[in-house]
Structure formats: C-alpha cells, structure tokens
C-alpha cells in the first residue's frame, strides 16, 4: 500500500508537462525583451488568449469525449453577429427585428448552443464523421455570417455585447476572470463530477460506457452544445475586445486550438487529457506569439519559428508524458 502513491503523483504531474516549457519561455522572453515580464504585458497576453482559450476548453472537452469540432471557429464570429443583427436597426446592418439590446448576449449564446446541437444531431443521430460534418459546418456557419452581412463589418454594436470583452474587474480585464472561472469549472467538472467523468468513459470506449449505464448520446449532445455555447462566449469576448464583428473573426483559429489542446496532452483519439493540461497548452501558444511579436521576427519567417516551437512543445509533452501520442 505504499507503492501506489508515487504513481498517483506522477499521473498528476502528467498534466503539467508543459510547465517547464512555460518557465523556459518566461525566462527567454525576459532576456529577449525587458517589456516581457511586466505585469502589463503579461496581462495583455492573458487577455489576448482569453477568447481562444474558451475554444480550447470547448475543444478539449469534445476531444476527450472522443469527437471533433472544427466549426467552433466559425461560431465565434457568427453567433454574436447574428445576435447583434437581431437587435440593431436596419441602417446599422440589422435584420430589422430590433429586439432589445440586452438580449444580444443571451441570443448569441443560444445561437452557439443551437449550432452545437445541430452538429451533435448530424453526428450522433446520423452517425456521420464528426470531422467532415463539422468541416462542412465550418463553411456553412461562416457563410451564415458572410451572407447576411454581405461581407461587411458590423461596428454599431449594442453596449451590452461590448461590455464583457472590454470591462475591467478588480484591475484585470473581465475576459481573464471569465476564462479563469470557466477553466476552474472545467477542471473541477471533468475531474470530480459524474458527468465530467462520463466524458472520459465515452471517449475511452463508447460501448463500455453504454454498458456501464452512461447515456452516451445525451453526454455527447451535451458536450457539443456546451462547446457551441463556449464558442459563442468566446465570440462575445472577442467582440468586446475588438469593438466590432468583422467577417474574419475567429477564422483560422481552429488549428491553434487543436495545437494548444494536443500539446497540452489532450488526445485526438478520445478519453485522454485534462483541462488543466489544455490550459498550459494555451499559455504556451500565447507566450510564443507574444515573444515573437516583441522581438519583431520578420513576418516572412515567423511561421517557421512558430511551427518549430509547436513541434518542440509537442516533443517535450511526448517525452514528459511518456506515452505515444495518437
């Protein structure tokens, strides 16, 4: 009864394989640029990552449940945009329904949830490939932003939708608080709640999960709906940060989201990984981007360095994690 203890400890540390990478990045950053370690800059990094981190949270849960969602990145722009178009006047690019401005956030979250539910419907009900369904949905959902707006940026937004992404609470941007609270909830939920553990069971072996009495379909619907809602919330935070909803909002994020989740130890094969690990993945990506910006690497070569760092982080996560990745 003494042997197991180190094992448990080791398993816990496995979530934190990226911590050394983060420490190295902090040291390297501090050496390369004096601004880097200032509270202001680090706050900026956190704020900049807060929206995308919600996508990583969503994707990590979906991956752990053994599924896949590419369309999250399109929901980031479309959910708040459609919600906003339901509240703003026609002259500002609205649909002319002009619902009360206070409804913008609930509507956006609802739209995100609906997109998630539709993804879930196609994937669970029709047993279609999650990758391709959500790829098609990525295109369609983005089209649902581009179509009604005719490619134009929405910049006359109700204050309600701008608030969360731009407010400051207790000296820190509200977005950081929100992301922090949601990650804490995610870590707790996936670690200690029945429904959270069910995600691991479903992702680890769906048939066994069903045989263990877990309502697999319900869990999967739930995770897609929560995913879509988180993507909409990410869109709301980003809207507040940018002050407008452009047609490109969220476009191209999904690859970074996957990279963050996987270098953070979440498996693409389901059933493996933690939210805490995913969070460290987000931080690595955010710090790398910030350092590259600060030292002003030529835009032409930036991708090479950036991709190289992802590879290195991946290797460290592989070596420290000890197991082959899928």
């Amino acid at each position: 009864m003494t042997a197991p203890i180190p094992r448990v400890r080791l398993a816990r540390f496995r979530d934190l394989t990226l911590v050394p990478v983060i420490v190295i990045l902090l040291v390297v950053g501090a050496i390369l640029d004096p601004t880097f370690l200032t509270a202001g800059n680090l706050t900026n990094v956190l704020q900049q990552q807060s929206a995308i981190s919600l996508l990583v949270l969503a994707e990590a849960m979906i991956l752990i449940a053994g599924k896949f969602d590419l369309s999250l990145e399109s929901t980031v722009g479309t959910a708040p945009a459609i919600a906003v178009m339901m509240v703003i006047p026609v002259t500002a690019g609205g649909f002319g329904i002009a619902l009360p401005g206070a409804l913008a956030i609930p509507l956006a979250l609802l739209i995100g949830a609906a997109i998630g539910a539709f993804n879930g419907f196609l994937i669970i009900r029709f047993q279609l490939s999650a990758f391709i369904v959500t790829l098609a949905m990525l295109i369609i959902v983005h089209g649902l932003l581009q179509g009604p707006t005719e490619g134009k940026t929405l910049f006359e937004l109700p204050d309600s939708i701008l608030y969360l992404g731009s407010a400051t609470w207790l000296g820190l941007p509200a977005a950081i608080w929100i992301a922090g609270v949601l990650f804490a909830a995610g870590i707790f939920g996936l670690g200690y709640l029945r429904v959270g553990r069910a995600l691991y069971a479903v992702g680890g072996n769906t048939d066994a999960a069903r045989a263990a009495g877990i309502r697999v379909d319900r869990v999967l619907y739930g995770v897609f709906i929560v995913g879509g809602t988180l993507a909409a919330l990410a869109g709301i935070l980003e809207t507040g940060r940018l002050g407008a909803i452009g047609n490109n909002m969220g476009v191209g994020w999904i690859f970074m989201v996957f990279a963050a989740a996987v270098i953070g130890g979440v498996s693409m094969d389901g059933g493996k990984g933690t939210i805490l690990g995913a969070l460290t993945g987000v931080l690595v990506i955010g710090l790398v981007q910030n350092i590259l910006t600060l030292i002003g690497v030529s835009g032409f070569w930036q991708p090479v360095i950036y991709g190289g760092i992802i590879l290195i982080a991946l290797m460290i996560s592989r070596i420290a994690g000890g197991k082959a990745q899928d």
Partner: protein
C-alpha cells in the same frame, strides 16, 4: 513640408514609431514592406522592428499592444478589417498615441491620417477603360478579391456601379476568388467556356490573378494583340512590374498602379509629423494628392494612375523602380 502643415509644438520629432504590416503573402504588400525601411532611412524615422498581423485583425490588436508596451509613440498600421480596430484606436487615442493607417480607412476611432488611394476609384477607372474599349456592350468578368475585404468590396462595388450607370449594355460576371490564383483560373476558364463572347476582364489583384488569367487565355488561344477580333481586354490592379511587362507585350491592356512606395513614404512621413506635433488640414498637398476631411480624422488620397501602353515606361511609377 506640405503647404497645409503647421508646427504647433517646438519639441523636435522624438519617439519611436511602431509599424504593423498586414500580410506577407501578396506582392503588393511585400513591395510596401520593402519600401518601409528604405523610406524610414530617408525620412530619419526611428522605426521599431515591424510586426506582421497576417491578415488577422485580432493579431493586429495584439501586435499594437505589444508595440505600445515597448514604447511606440506613434503607430502605422493597415487594418484589413476596418471595423474591428475601433477599440484599439480608442485605446490609442486615450494614450495620446497618433495613428496613421495605410490603405484602409477605419470606420470608427480617431486616426491622425489615412494614407490610401481611393479603391473605389480603381474600380471606376477599370470600368471606364473596359467600357470604352468594348464600346459599351458585351460581356466582362471581374475577378474579385475576398468579399470580406473592404478593398475588394470597394473595387467590386464601384466597378459594378459604374458599369450599371455608364455602360448598361455590358453584362458583368463577378467571380469571388478569395485572392486565390487557383480559384481565379478555374472560374475564368469555366466562365469563358460558358460565354465564349466575353470581351473584357478586370482583375482585382495582379499579383494573384495575372499569371492564371494569362495562362487560361493562352490555353484558349485568346492571347492575341488588340488588333485581333478575338482579343480580350484585360485591366489589372496593383501595378507590379510583371503587369507592366505584360502591358508592354500586349498581353494585358492596363493596370491601376497602387502606389506601394508612396504608401510607405507618406505613412512614415505623417507618423513623424504627428510626433513632431505638426497638424494638417484638408486641401491639396505638395505631392499631387488631396487631403480630405473624415469624421474621425484626415485622409491623404494618393494618386493611383491608370497605366496603359502609353505610360507604362514612366519612371515615376513604383513598378518601374523595384528590382
């Protein structure tokens, strides 16, 4: 200095200028990027290492924050999404950091100066050229950029509007190519198959559209001199050296020269001026352009000449200066 500038404060132009480049994958912007350090040397601007936002306004916002953190006192940027930069401009205004935007005009938020050529004018010029060459009738194709880009949309809308009002006899097919050569080639090929009587093409970006268009025309045997009845009139946009080359050879007929060199020069010029405390007013300038008043600042509308066989060898065109 320009005739409309006045110096209000005496403290000479101190402070670093931060600059963000919008993308690194288009010929036009790459020429601009190359001009920037050269012009900074000439104008003695204390330029910080440039950041690049790779066509992503969220990255642009992050980059600007980093530049300010590092002590930039003025910012030059080229936001490809003109709405989503509003908050950043607001923050910069609060920090009293002047902003010069290049190529695009932000919808909201204070700017010290917008340095751009009128993209709508590009579309109109191309329309007028094609309309006249076709004698006001026939079919033309416009290879659009990305519909989510303001410049692409301006060119497209102005082109269509001008066709509708001035040359109602001309049918326009608009092909959204997302700035991709591959899509452009496929769409043009398909359209020519469907309508062999197309007589004109307007390309939104010579950098991506020129070679594919020529290749399609060549394959169809339509790459013939203007004297030939089969000739299709092609107007391009950007003014890169390869377009000039094509004009000289008679492969295409015209291009709108978007002044990459002047963009770089005047962006830095105005940034420096802002740091020196100079101010500007609407009116003509000393460099063949006009400053106009915007609700949120000023805009220096640089000339964007239409280049045809007649003026293609003009040394002052930026496309004739690069190598």
């Amino acid at each position: 200095g320009s005739g409309t500038s006045t110096t209000t404060t005496a403290e000479g132009g101190g402070g670093k200028v931060g600059i963000d480049h919008p993308r690194a994958d288009s010929d036009f912007w790459n020429s601009y990027i190359k001009y920037v350090p050269q012009m900074a040397g000439e104008l003695k601007v204390d330029l910080m290492p440039a950041t690049n936002s790779q066509n992503d306004v969220a990255k642009l916002v992050n980059n600007v924050q980093a530049l300010i953190g590092q002590g930039a006192k003025a910012i030059v940027m080229a936001p490809q999404d003109t709405g989503a930069i509003a908050n950043t401009l607001q923050q910069l205004e609060n920090k009293k950091i002047p902003v010069v935007t290049v190529d695009t005009r932000p919808d909201k938020g204070k700017v010290f100066m917008v340095v751009r050529a009128d993209n709508r004018a590009y579309g109109t010029k191309a329309c007028e050229f094609l309309g006249e060459k076709l004698g006001g009738k026939g079919k033309v194709v416009q290879l659009q950029g990305a519909l989510s880009s303001i410049n692409g949309r301006d060119r497209s809308e102005a082109f269509l509007e001008c066709m509708k009002t001035k040359f109602p006899g001309i049918t326009v097919f608009s092909e959204p190519t997302e700035w991709e050569g591959s899509k452009a080639a496929s769409m043009l090929q398909t359209r020519l198959e469907q309508n062999p009587d197309i007589k004109g093409i307007y390309m939104h970006a010579g950098g991506v559209h020129l070679a594919p268009t020529l290749q399609v025309l060549k394959q169809k045997g339509l790459l013939v001199p203007p004297t030939d009845a089969k000739h299709i009139f092609v107007v391009s946009n950007d003014g890169i050296p390869q377009e000039f080359e094509a004009i000289r050879k008679g492969d295409i007929d015209a291009t709108v020269s978007q002044p990459a060199d002047l963009y770089a020069k005047y962006a830095l010029y105005y940034a420096k001026a802002a740091l020196e405390g100079k101010t500007f007013k609407a009116g003509p300038t000393d460099h063949d352009s006009t400053i106009i008043q915007l609700p949120n600042g000023l805009e220096d509308q640089l000339p964007a000449p239409l280049v045809t066989k007649d003026n293609v060898d003009d040394k002052s065109l930026w496309g004739n200066q690069v190598k």
